[in-house]
Symmetry: C2
Subunit: 225 residues, 2 copies
DNA sequence: GTCATGATTTAGCTATGCCTAAATTAGCAC
DNA sequence: GTGCTAATTTAGGCATAGCTAAATCATGAC
């Protein structure tokens, strides 16, 4: 920064990256509006500016959604790297619990210098993921693709490992921690679904019933063994 | 924040506190303009807003300068506490040199939460001063008054201790470090002034000639020995 | 006391980013 | 093809915080 980007611009770029998904599909104004908590008209205004900017951060087609340009994607990944490094740092060095880190990182990610980013990464020994299991992009933006699936879409009786959990809701995070739903933990979905919940064996414990809102925040992948 | 104050507002309040001096004299628009690097007209506009605000941050009298209100002083001291805690943290935990800390802290001071402030203070063991020797206000804003004098105004042959150094110019800071001009160091001004420099014995070394710009950034007080 | 001068304020603009209300458009039903 | 409706954009405002140029004010010299 030295206002190369602003907090608002950063947050739009991150949102476009996240909502575009791995296929980097075009993102609608409405989707951005509801994700960012602003009105659709505000989104249109911002997208026009982001497209006009030199260098352009997005490719924007009126009525057909928006995609990141290379420059936009680069900045989005840089901000995400800041965010996840900060979360890990706050958690590991400053006694933040995993439900407290997100809010603080969401603000600071826009304001730390490259120097501070580097020092934090060095202090942490270049960690690969944040406390919720999300991968930390490399300095050059490289980020290993993952085959994650929501736990609620994982087949019964097939062992899986938790790869990450949603970090948006502190209440959910505290509940997950209490139940042992941590990245790296092995889980098996047991037969016994009902509307509104699934039955899951967590680690080596007894099967536990998880509400769908909670379970949908848990992403898993196959256990390689 | 959650914009209770903005970065600009914070920086105006800090500037009024600093320029007002220990006697908290009224500060002129011009002084603020040159300190903050903005035009005098911009200062007038901001002072009007700060005075109108509820609760008011300043007492502003057209053409006669501005003073902080209690609320303004409280916020100014809080931001200064953030700044100095951050400087000490960056220096002690993240390998920043003492000429690098100021710039980073100047930005982050506006964006850390009360929680992060507290965790940093705890991690550091509630330090009393930043790397340049400036006192860190307590959480309630209390800050011990000091009897500092610029080294260039200290009498010859009377031993003094460096209490703090100006942290604005990284080049000067590196030079000071090289010469051993650190907070806590004992100094004696030797007879031998010329226009443009003074002769100073630093610690137990040989007398060294210091340029006035450099020496004017060094504040000392009597040694209570 | 009057005036000149420098300090300060006012007036009028710009840019960012948000909002509401009023068009407009895309895309589907028929 | 014609409409309908929901999505989206446009138009017009507001707040923050800066700027320049043009007043205006305070003060010291006389
Ligand atoms: Mn953010
Ligand atoms: Mn996270
Ligand atoms: Mn600042
Ligand atoms: Mn300092």
């Amino acid at each position: 920064m030295t206002p190369q980007t602003t907090e608002a611009v950063d947050d739009y770029l991150k949102a476009i990256l996240e909502l575009g998904g791995p296929a980097e599909e075009a993102v609608s104004s409405n989707a951005l509006a509801s994700h960012l908590g602003v009105r659709a008209a505000s989104v249109t205004g911002m997208l026009q500016k982001l497209a006009l900017r030199e260098p352009s951060f997005v490719v924007y087609q009126k009525h057909y959604g928006v995609r990141l340009s290379d420059a936009g994607k680069r900045r989005a990944l840089e901000v995400i790297r800041h965010h996840r490094l900060l979360e890990r740092f706050l958690h590991d060095f400053l006694d933040y619990s995993w439900d407290e880190v997100h809010e603080e990182a969401e603000r600071l990610e826009h304001y730390i210098s490259e120097r501070l980013e580097d020092r934090i990464a060095a202090k942490l020994g270049d960690p690969a993921s944040d406390p919720h299991g999300h991968p930390i992009p490399e300095k050059d933006g490289a980020i290993a693709p993952r085959n994650e699936v929501q736990l609620i879409h994982w087949p019964c009786s097939v062992p899986a490992g938790i790869s990450s959990v949603s970090d948006r809701d502190p209440v959910e995070l505290r509940e997950m921690k209490r139940l042992g739903l941590l990245p790296g933990t092995k889980v098996v979905v047991e037969p016994g679904s009902r509307t509104g919940s699934i039955l899951v064996r967590i680690g080596s414990g007894q099967p536990t019933r998880l509400t769908l809102p909670l379970a949908s925040g848990v992403l898993v992948s196959g256990v390689t063994e």
